[in-house]
Amino acid sequence: MASLTVRKNVDALTTPELQALRVAYKNAQQIMDNRGYNYYAGLHGIPNWYCWHHERTSGSTVNANLFLPWHRAYLLHFEKAIRDQRPPNSKVGLPWWDWTSGTSRVTFVPHAFSVATVDGQPNPLFRARIVAPTANPPINRMTRRFPGNPAVLPTQATVTTLLGLTQFNDFSNQLEDVHDNIHGWTGGNNGSVGGDMSSVGTAAWDPIFWSHHCMIDRLWYLWQIRHGVNNIPPNLLPMVLQPFTLTVRDVLSINALGYEYAVSLVRI
């Protein structure tokens, strides 16, 4: 029987777990077909633009707020793809980046993502190559990131307020706004150009994108514990989360999707 994939705080990964994650990302980044990192990153913005942000309309369903379920489905598929590339006998799950932590308020980006090399080799969690030949103009370069002042990151008080909101659309919109802010400041700018996390088109190529969204997904999970796993406008339930075959109903329970969030732990 398959066990649940456990998603942990990136700062709580053991050395072997972090190493396995790097190997998985590195292997995935070397694959250019539909199993690889470049393919999955390209589903979000450039060139396929499947990402769902804010309230949009689809068919007869108006003002559908699919930001959270769409990204849950997206992360699930990406996690499966990188798990396929993990070292034998290793455990790999998408780690989440707790941007409210004391560490983040000092370093901004977690150490796992901010070191350029590990043991003399390029760190696949630091940056990745964007290969988007059909973009206008075509893009073929490494990702770039210029994080701002860590003081801009949200605090635990912000999260507490978010988790206290009782209506799904209100919670989703407010959480998405926090998400937008972190995208902007994590990508940042160097005065001349912005970092990739700050633009929808290229954000998903930055390896920290996945852990940022893992935190977003985790907060939805924590909200569901408080307010009900099925607490979502019922007219959204049958909507398909393109290009995946999952519907909104399919992604409400993370256990049913095969993963779980570990309780955060204190490293002693």
């Binding site: 706004d177 160097n190 633009s199």
Partner: protein
């Protein structure tokens, strides 16, 4: 002396364009006319400033909202004493990276069209501004709203001079 002043000005410009913690680069600021709060209910548990039909096609920015502070800019501390009410953020598309017409928003889409609406349809942003509105209402019958867009990130295709575009603002209160 003239040389020193020139150097200082140049330094200010350089630091003004860096996204660090000392100086933030702001785009064109929005300043409302005076708005009357005469019809505001005496009691409310929450007050939202809703920004309607906000453009998100360009640069990413944080829109800082100030009540009764028309001189607020990118360096104004975001504290209640300055009338800071909260902010919303725009995760921008960075400009158009498709072919001609890619970023043109479809105006009509019938109910049998299974495709989602255009991703660049303008959006609604909500700033929960309860404390700021209550404080302002206690002191003045009229308020002004100033919105300072502080640039976070952009691409070579982004306009940076006038990023903040929206249709109007609603002040909504809840029991």
């Amino acid at each position: 002396m003239a040389t020193k002043a020139k150097a200082t000005a140049k330094k200010s410009t350089k630091s003004a364009t860096r996204g660090d913690d000392r100086t933030y680069r702001a785009s064109k600021v929005y300043k409302s006319k005076k708005v009357s709060l005469a019809n505001l209910p005496a009691q409310f548990s929450r007050a939202d400033l809703e920004f309607i039909r906000v453009d998100h096609s360009g640069a990413s920015y944080e829109a800082r909202v100030f009540i009764n502070n028309p001189n607020a800019d990118g360096n104004t501390p975001t504290v209640e004493a300055n009338g800071y009410a909260g902010s919303f953020s725009i995760f921008g598309h960075g400009g158009c990276f498709g072919d001609v017409g890619h970023c043109d928003v479809h105006k009509e889409q019938d109910e049998f069209d299974p495709r989602p609406s255009h991703p660049l349809l303008p959006i609604r942003k909500v700033v929960i501004a309860t404390s700021a509105i209550k404080n302002a209402a206690a002191k003045n019958p009229d308020i002004t709203v100033t919105v300072v867009p502080v640039l976070m990130g952009w691409t070579e295709k982004s306009d940076l001079e006038d990023v903040l575009k929206f249709d109007h603002i609603n002040l909504v209160t809840y029991d």
